[in-house]
């Protein structure tokens, strides 16, 4: 170990080295020391750090789930009630009164199969975008990889989705819908839904911590997004020449993908799906990047 040199500038040598661990710079107290440096740009996900804190991720998700239906009479039934009541309302107004076309699928099933991935998206988006602000007491008091917060916030949406899935299976049986081989692609569409929600959610949560406007905008944006997504109507209503562009909304592909996997309805949406994958990847990667770039200042600006 070198003797401390008074007033050596912390300067460029330290800042340019992006590696945070095991720096043998001037004055270092030795290998194995963790070095805290001024604001860094962190383009990586920091996967090692996330892995090291996986138990906290688990506990935060567990807390959210445990508190979720605390002191309610219906408890977990709410996860079933919400999509079911929406399905009933849509079936009455669109299916029965407006005679909305539904690609030959019974309308309640048509709506419910779309509500599932939609609610997974909407829950995830809403939970992740508010997650940082609602956990600010943690951010200002303890260190942990900040990505853990929005990631753990996704748990509720997933669990609710899983529960509603039972209802979907019951409905499939009720309507005697044959199981198609492409049902195996459902996880892929779920992933697309989650990735889109998380991408937007990461942007929103990191911005929301500075501008609470985002928190007000998210429910409103979600509502608009809902109408831009073919949940209550089939995407075949959209002129054929616009179909591919419709994929700019990844949720359109998710919803149509779910219907395709379950009922084999509509096909040739390859172009639309490509668009969606592209948009979703851009949202997700830029979301992670923006989040990581700004996360070190969260405690100061919250």
């Amino acid at each position: 170990m070198k003797l401390p040199v008074p007033h050596t500038s912390p300067g460029m040598a330290d800042r340019s080295s992006a590696v945070m661990n095991n720096i043998d710079g001037p004055d270092s107290i030795g290998a194995g020391a963790f070095r805290i440096l001024p604001l860094q740009q962190l383009p990586t996900i920091g996967f090692m750090d996330l892995w090291a804190y996986r138990e906290l991720l688990y506990f935060l998700a567990w807390r959210d789930l445990k508190v979720r239906y605390h002191q309610t009479l219906l408890g977990i039934l709410w996860a079933v009630l919400k999509p079911c009541s929406m399905m009933v309302v849509f079936s009455i107004f669109f299916g029965w009164l407006s005679r909305m076309p539904s690609d030959g699928i019974p309308y309640p099933l048509f709506v419910f199969s779309a509500l599932l991935p939609w609610q997974l998206f909407a829950h995830t988006l809403s939970a992740t975008s508010h997650s940082l602000v609602s956990n600010q007491h943690l951010i200002t008091k303890v260190y942990f990889p900040r990505l853990i917060i929005p990631i753990s916030a996704m748990a509720i949406g997933l669990v609710d989705f899983g529960i509603a899935l039972f209802v979907l299976v019951a409905m499939l049986l009720h309507y005697h819908i044959p199981i198609l081989p492409q049902i195996l692609t459902i996880p892929m569409f779920m992933l697309l839904s989650i990735a889109t929600a998380l991408g937007v959610g990461l942007w929103a949560s990191a911005l929301n911590i500075r501008h609470r406007d985002i928190g007000h905008a998210i429910p409103f944006v979600t509502q608009l997004w809902f109408f831009a997504t073919p949940v209550a109507y089939p995407s075949s209503l959209i002129p054929a020449s616009w179909q591919a562009w419709y994929g700019i909304n990844p949720l359109a592909s998710v919803v149509e993908g779910f219907r395709w996997a379950l009922f084999g309805s509509g096909d040739g949406e390859g172009k639309m799906l490509m668009f969606s994958l592209l948009v979703s990847s851009i949202l997700f990667i830029s979301g992670v990047y923006f989040f990581r770039r700004t996360e070190q200042t969260f405690a100061d600006v919250v």
Binding site: M1, P4, H7, T8, S9, P10, D14, D27, S28, I29, G30, G32, A33, F34, R35, I36, L37, P38, L39, Q40, E55, L56, Y58, F59, L60, R63, K66, V67, H70, Q71, H137, L138, I139, T140, K141, V142, Y143, F144, R210, H211, Q296, T297, A299, D300, V301
Partner: protein, 427 residues
């Protein structure tokens, strides 16, 4: 040979004042700034709000050896907590760097991550995980935590039904069982009842004896003296003193805060002509006659008040109220108390100075405020200066004060007791 576990080098932290510059601005400030720049063009001088920054820390360097307990002291806003936040990686420094060897546990607050709806059992796991313990570690320590917190019977009750004392005990119990090589502790001892505080103090003592390194931020000079071997005194973000705990505490109690201890109350030009009396200044002097903002609990202190009489008055009095940090008025005294016969003596125009001696040996440690009033009793108020000055009574660990720590009461006087052996009882 190399047993340094913390090295901080030139750490600086800059904060923007006001609304946090371009990121934190709301629409209103955007508009306001737009107008501000318009006024600038007109040549009106405006305060450049955008460039107002404050260095919460500036050029802070220190080394800590393994097993050392370093106390960090300083007035409010001196940067103590910011320093701990940087070392615990909650916020990055603006300049400089720090290195830490080993597992770092930061206790900037006890009970971080507690959720009111979760049971005591669940919260132990939640809080432990937030502090960086693994599930296995918590499992292993679980019984010890429960015993330490004395909450066995309430383990499956949601913590929102806990008394604040139970809540605190549980929170501290988890924190006290955090196994870390370096502990960063901020003011957590300022909570809980006295018996539990004592328990926590001895637990902390154990911690340092086990060879763990502790950085302790505290206002409580007595616990700093008890626990720490070295200390760092911060003032306005800079290191004012660093070294052996006794020297640093002495420095803290004397020189560094002598700017406090005096308040100018009125300037002459502001006094309305019809006013008969106005307060000029108030100052606190310690036992040696020095003006200071903090009083050693065993020394005396003198309150000195300057006032100006503008027109001759008869029957006026100057009164002083002493308030403690909890907002309780501890006492009220007037300059007529000791010589009631002077009630009707005239005060002719001119500058006056009155002083009274307060005996801090019956003070409890903590912050006090003095409010001044001058009146013609029963007639009218002449002048008043609420919360004219504040000062701190510091417990330097004198034996009397250690004994009174756990007691109730606004004041803690030493009262003479006598005992007489009356008879012998055969048992």
């Amino acid at each position: 040979m190399n047993d340094l576990v913390i090295r901080a080098k030139n750490i600086g932290k800059q904060y923007a004042l006001g609304d946090g510059r371009h990121w934190g601005r709301t629409v209103q400030t955007y508009i306001r700034d737009a107008f501000a720049s318009y006024r600038d063009a007109e040549g009106t001088p405006t305060c450049d709000a955008k460039n107002r920054v404050i260095w919460a820390l500036n050029g802070v360097s220190f080394d800590v050896r393994r097993g050392e307990v370093l106390g960090i002291i300083g007035r409010n806003g001196s940067g103590k907590s910011t320093l701990l936040k940087i070392l615990s990686r909650i916020t990055p420094p603006t300049t400089g760097w720090a290195e830490l060897v080993g597992r770092v546990g930061s206790l900037l607050e006890v009970g971080t991550g507690f959720h009111p709806d979760l049971t005591g059992r669940d919260n132990i796991y939640m809080n432990g995980a937030v502090l960086g313990m693994t599930k296995r570690e918590i499992d292993r320590q679980f019984d010890a935590i429960v015993t330490f917190a004395e909450i066995e019977t309430f383990l499956d009750t949601p913590v929102k039904r806990y008394s604040s004392g139970m809540h605190m005990r549980l929170a501290f119990a988890v924190a006290a069982h955090l196994k870390a090589d370096i502990l960063l502790v901020d003011e957590v001892l300022a909570v809980g009842d006295a018996a539990f505080q004592q328990k926590c103090l001895s637990k902390m003592d154990d911690v340092s004896r086990e060879g763990r390194t502790v950085l302790l931020v505290s206002h409580n000079i007595a616990s700093i003296l008890n626990l720490c071997s070295t200390a760092l005194l911060l003032g306005r973000g800079e290191v004012l003193a660093y070294g052996g705990v006794r020297d640093v505490v002495d420095h803290y109690l004397s020189g560094s805060i002598s700017v406090q201890g005096e308040t100018q109350l009125h300037s002459h030009d502001k006094v309305p002509s019809e006013q008969e009396l106005s307060f000029e200044a108030i100052r606190i002097r310690d036992g040696h006659g020095r003006v200071t903002g903090s009083i050693d609990a065993v020394q005396g202190c003198t309150v000195e008040v300057d006032y100006v009489v503008h027109r001759e008055i008869r029957g006026g009095q100057v009164s002083l109220e002493l308030w403690n940090g909890e907002g309780v008025c501890v006492l009220c005294t007037t300059d007529l108390d000791s010589c009631p016969e002077s009630k009707s003596t005239a005060r002719y125009p001119g500058l006056y100075r009155v002083s009274c001696r307060l005996d801090p040996t019956w003070f409890r440690a903590g912050r006090y405020w003095i409010s001044l009033g001058a009146s013609m009793p029963g007639l009218r108020a002449l002048d008043e200066a609420p919360h004219a000055i504040s000062f701190e009574v510091i417990d330097t660990g004198s034996i009397e004060h250690k004994l009174t720590q756990g007691r109730r009461g606004v004041i803690a006087p030493t009262i003479q007791w006598s005992a007489t052996h009356l008879s012998t009882v055969n048992t």
